[in-house]
């Protein structure tokens, strides 16, 4: 399978994602430039974290108009896998590929720390390698990670089981101090209805090696890799 990591002006974590995929997971991965049209031949596109366009105006607001994003929207419509991490999540929301919006942390401060996530749904390409209720320890680092959706949307998200991760404490329980940004319903990551577009505030790429304190982030990347391989097999057989 082939991964594409999109580089916007102001992206910061593209190298982290690249190194994790290339050197830890030995994947085939390439950077894609925001100003180019999207090339064919990718199985999963990653929109990395950072501060595209300085996060000026609203996080993700300007990046979504980059030329490459037209291709991303089409790619997603055809069922391609799209993973947005942090700023990437914000861009996907602004672009309408994911519901809701990420607003300023309720503390009004940037927050950088380790958090625990509870895996809520496993029937997506992003989470299939995990178990329901499983805990992942990942870092967050963002100033605008407070997820918000209006009550109807939120109800739909729950009904369709689109909430893939929630912030919990070290024992897997919802707790006041566990949610780092005030997200509604402790939401840390959601997918679209088609379950092929996923946005996540914490950073799996920064928790992919023991020496960095956690390898839990690999769960997400290896789920995606497994899902793509399965698809390839099905195509070959079918």
């Amino acid at each position: 399978m082939r991964w594409g990591v999109i580089v916007f002006p102001g992206s910061c974590d593209e190298q982290d994602v690249y190194d994790c995929l290339k050197h830890v997971l030995k994947q085939d991965v390439e950077f894609l430039w925001h100003r180019d049209n999207l090339k064919n031949g990718f199985d999963c596109l990653v929109l990395p974290g950072g501060f595209s366009y300085g996060d000026y105006l609203r996080a993700g607001a300007m990046a979504r108009f980059s030329p490459v994003m037209r291709g991303v929207v089409e790619f997603a419509a055809r069922g391609g896998l799209v993973l947005g991490i942090c700023n990437g999540f914000q861009i996907l929301c602004e672009a309408g590929l994911l519901p809701g919006v990420l607003t300023r942390n309720s503390s009004l401060q940037f927050v950088c720390r380790q958090v625990y996530l509870r895996l809520e749904e496993t029937d997506t390409p992003f989470t299939s390698a995990g178990k329901k209720g499983q805990l992942l320890k990942l870092p967050v680092k963002h100033g605008e990670g407070c997820y918000y959706a209006d009550p109807d949307t939120l109800e739909r998200l729950r009904h369709n089981r689109q909430i893939l991760f929630r912030y919990v404490d070290g024992r897997g329980k919802n707790a006041p101090g566990a949610n780092p940004n005030g997200s509604i319903d402790d939401i840390a990551g959601v997918c679209n209805e088609g379950r092929n577009v996923f946005g996540l505030m914490p950073h799996p790429e920064d928790a992919a090696e023991k020496i960095l304190g956690s390898e839990d982030g690999l769960k997400i990347f290896s789920s995606i890799a497994a899902a793509c391989e399965k698809r390839e097999r099905e195509v070959r057989v079918g």
Binding site: P9, G10, S11, C12, D13, Q15, D16, D19, C20, G49, G50, F51, Y53, G54, D55, Y56, Q109, F110, V111, C112, R113, Q114, P139, K141, G143, H203, E205, D206, A208, E209, I211, L212, G213
Partner: protein, 741 residues
């Protein structure tokens, strides 16, 4: 009247004085030029000869610092220092102050401080991979302290996070001497390929000078601009503005410069920091022995009607000046265009060692380059030990009552903002980006790995100004020793240091005495521990209403770990491990946090130090870590042994774990628990490794004593203290936040 002449008001004594130049300095200018300068030239001299650019009061003393060492690739004199870290790689680092701007506008002042130091590092071809910040604020009961602290921390985070450079550590200290003079020192470290290091040199006559980055505005122009009558109409509009940082543009600039450096276009490069276009071009010419010729009308401007004077002196942020190979202009423009940045040829390298600036073809400045750089005055300012210093150093311990409840004292100290957890600060800094952070903030030193190798780098910033106030010489030694000890505690061997020397007015003999003493102390510390100084910065005039701050040298030291996987954190690991104290406790209380917080005293002499002993303790700790027998290590610093043990127990990012400690020393209990004797490190080891540790200690000559065992839920220091660790942890973790509510 020509275009140029309109901008050249005449030079009255007031105009000269308002430029911060003395009459003697003015006469020196006239002599160097062989004529009177014009207004613009006066402005150029005033910034180049300012304390900040010329180091005129400090140079004489700075010369005594050791700058050589086996790993040093570049010592002081360039934009940043460089040390060799093997594998064809080099570490590039520097620290710089942004004190005054941060006091005026804390968010922007601190943010632009970070921006400036980042440029100093990537200008040399290094990708910045870690930052530190060293902060000093006034007492918490000063109403401005909270506002300033919140603004500064948000500004450092706001800038560094956006550029994608992790802030992995720093310092935070409160004392009323900083009430009206906060200190904001920013440090950045980058990694470069040894073969691709760039310097600020304007080599090659005919090569173009290319301006890249943000447009030029009237930001930060010396207040002197308004002193002349010619500008008196629109004064309000022309008021020098606070610089606002644009980290997004900085990020683009960083990426574009690094991309360009992979190509074969660049001859020299320097960021436009203090004194902007003037100093970047003049200093590059001076280093290359060439001249420069600028056409100021080509400089991209943000505001209308800017004069040559303003263009030359603007300190707008996020700008760089490149010297490119002739013929590569289009390539340079292409690379910067890819990052949505302008690149404009604004001049060229010339023969004749002249600094020339034209405005629409007319010459407005013509100065020999050397007159601006090496021609700057060097002062041998008078030095005098302050009257009453003996009194400050006098401490009669028999008059200091020993508290009965020592557990309560421990709680009080852990609650002191100078000792309490700094998480409220570093939580606002991205310390994970670039996925290299092995030891995050909260330990003695931060550790980052170097991708593609087994190695790691450790970083720390230290400097106890209370010690320096009580004895500036010893304080200077201790700043170096503590930094090296923090590195040893994680398992790193020092490669070099950069220092930021924050002092009052150099025109005061007492301040110059402090300065000279601190430098001598630092020199002896560096020599004794074998650490060279590779870069640094001096910030004088940190005083308000004639009251200077305590002398505050900040030492930021970088160390190497050959095997980063072996690095150690301060926190106890498993019950049953032995707690061992390396070093010796003496009955010393002078300058301690305990004396200040509990007794309200800032007196006495700082702890004694013997560099041989210091070295032995550090070597012992390092060897033991390298052998893999150390489970945790934490040096004893502010708050003394009891606080150090509490910090080991509290667990930082790991699980809290108590310990049972037995004391034996015959001395005052408060000195034993809270005295800040130097050259001590608390380590924990498996019981079976005690023999090996003893062997290493004996070989290095380090005193060693087993003082207890890890385990339980309480910290017990027999027979003096017994407190649940969870209670200590909650006091220590919540102190800052509680004060900021």
């Amino acid at each position: 009247m020509s275009q140029a002449e309109r901008f050249q008001p005449s030079l009255t004594p007031e105009v000269i004085a308002s430029h911060g130049l003395t009459q003697d300095e003015y006469q020196r200018i006239v002599k160097l030029l062989g004529r009177e300068p014009n207004y613009t030239e006066l402005g150029v001299f005033s910034v180049m000869w300012s304390e900040h650019c010329s180091y005129k009061s400090s140079r004489r003393w700075l010369k005594s610092l050791p700058t050589d060492g086996p790993a040093v690739l570049q010592g002081p004199g360039e934009n940043a220092g460089i040390v060799d870290i093997g594998d064809g790689l080099a570490a590039v680092f520097k620290i710089e102050s942004h004190n005054h701007p941060s006091f005026i506008e804390p968010y922007q002042g601190a943010a632009t401080g970070v921006g400036g130091i980042l440029r100093d590092v990537f200008t040399m071809g290094a990708r910045p991979i870690a930052s530190l910040n060293s902060l000093r604020f006034g007492a918490f009961d000063d109403p401005r302290t909270r506002y300033l602290l919140c603004g500064v921390v948000a500004g450092i985070g706001g800038y560094g996070n956006c550029v994608g450079v992790p802030t992995v550590g720093g310092e935070l200290f409160f004392d009323e001497c900083y009430n009206s003079n906060i200190l904001v020192n920013a440090f950045t470290l980058g990694i470069a390929k040894k073969k691709r290091i760039f310097k600020g040199r304007a080599k090659g006559v005919g090569n173009p000078l290319i301006y890249v980055g943000a447009k030029t505005g009237r930001d930060g122009i010396h207040g002197a601009t308004m002193a002349s009558e010619a500008f008196s109409e629109a004064t309000e509009k022309r008021r020098p503005t606070v610089q606002v940082g644009d980290p997004f543009t900085e990020k683009l600039l960083l990426e574009a410069c690094l991309e360009l450096m992979e190509k074969d276009c660049l001859v020299g490069i320097q960021d436009m920091g203090a004194a902007g276009l003037t100093s970047s071009s003049a200093e590059m010419a001076a280093r290359a022995g060439t001249g420069v010729e600028l056409e100021l009308s080509l400089v991209p401007l943000r505001e209308q009607g800017m004069t040559p004077y303003e263009i030359l002196l603007s300190e707008s942020q996020e700008r760089m000046l490149l010297v490119a190979r002739k013929g590569s202009e289009d390539e340079v423009k292409r690379v910067f265009g890819r990052w949505d940045l302008d690149a404009v040829v604004v001049g060229q390298v010339s023969r004749g060692r002249l600094f020339r600036a034209l405005f629409h073809g007319e010459e407005v400045v013509r100065i020999p380059v050397e007159a601006l750089t090496s021609g700057a005055p060097v002062y041998n300012r008078p030095v005098e030990r302050p009257e009453g210093h003996d009194e400050v150093q006098r401490l009669d311990l028999s008059k200091v009552r020993e508290p009965e409840d020592l557990g309560a004292v421990l709680r009080t100290l852990l609650d002191s903002p100078n000792i309490a957890s700094k998480e409220w600060v570093y939580r606002q800094y991205d310390h994970f980006v670039r996925s290299n952070t092995v030891v995050a903030p909260g330990a003695d030193a931060a550790v980052i790995r170097i991708k593609g190798t087994e190695k790691g780098l450790a970083l720390t910033a230290d400097g106890n100004s209370r010690y320096c106030y009580l004895d500036p010489y010893v304080g200077g030694v201790l700043a170096v020793a503590e930094a090296a000890r923090n590195l040893a505690s994680v398992g790193a061997r020092p490669l070099g240091l950069t220092d930021c020397l924050n002092f009052g007015s150099p025109e005061k003999p007492e301040v110059m005495w402090q300065f000279s003493q601190v430098i001598q102390g630092m020199r002896d510390g560096c020599v004794g521990l074998g650490v060279p100084v590779v870069s640094g910065n001096v910030s004088f005039y940190n005083e308000t209403d004639g009251r200077p701050i305590h002398p505050t040298p900040v030492v930021a030291m970088v160390g190497l770990l050959l095997r980063v996987a072996r690095c150690v954190t301060p926190w106890f690991k498993s019950p049953g491990d032995l707690v061992v104290l390396l070093g010796r406790t003496r009955e010393e209380l002078g300058g301690s946090e305990y004396l200040k917080v509990v007794h309200g005293l800032v007196r006495g002499t700082p702890p004694w130090i013997d560099l041989k002993l210091e070295r032995a303790v550090q070597q012992c700790c390092l060897r033991a870590i390298e052998r893999g027998i150390v489970r945790s290590a934490h040096d004893v610093s502010q708050g003394g042994l009891a606080v150090a043990l509490a910090e080991c127990s509290i667990g930082g990012t790991e699980r809290a774990m108590g310990a049972r400690i037995e004391t034996q020393e015959m001395m005052r209990a408060d000195a034993l628990l809270f005295g800040e004797s130097q050259s001590r490190i608390v380590v924990s080891i498996k019981e079976r490794d005690l023999g090996r540790l003893k062997e290493i200690a004996a070989r290095e000559g380090a005193p060693l004593r087993v003082i207890g065992v890890v385990g339980g839920t309480r910290l017990i220091i027999q027979p003096l203290i017994q407190v649940p660790v969870e209670e200590l942890k909650s006091i220590w973790s919540s102190s800052l936040e509680r004060r900021l509510k």
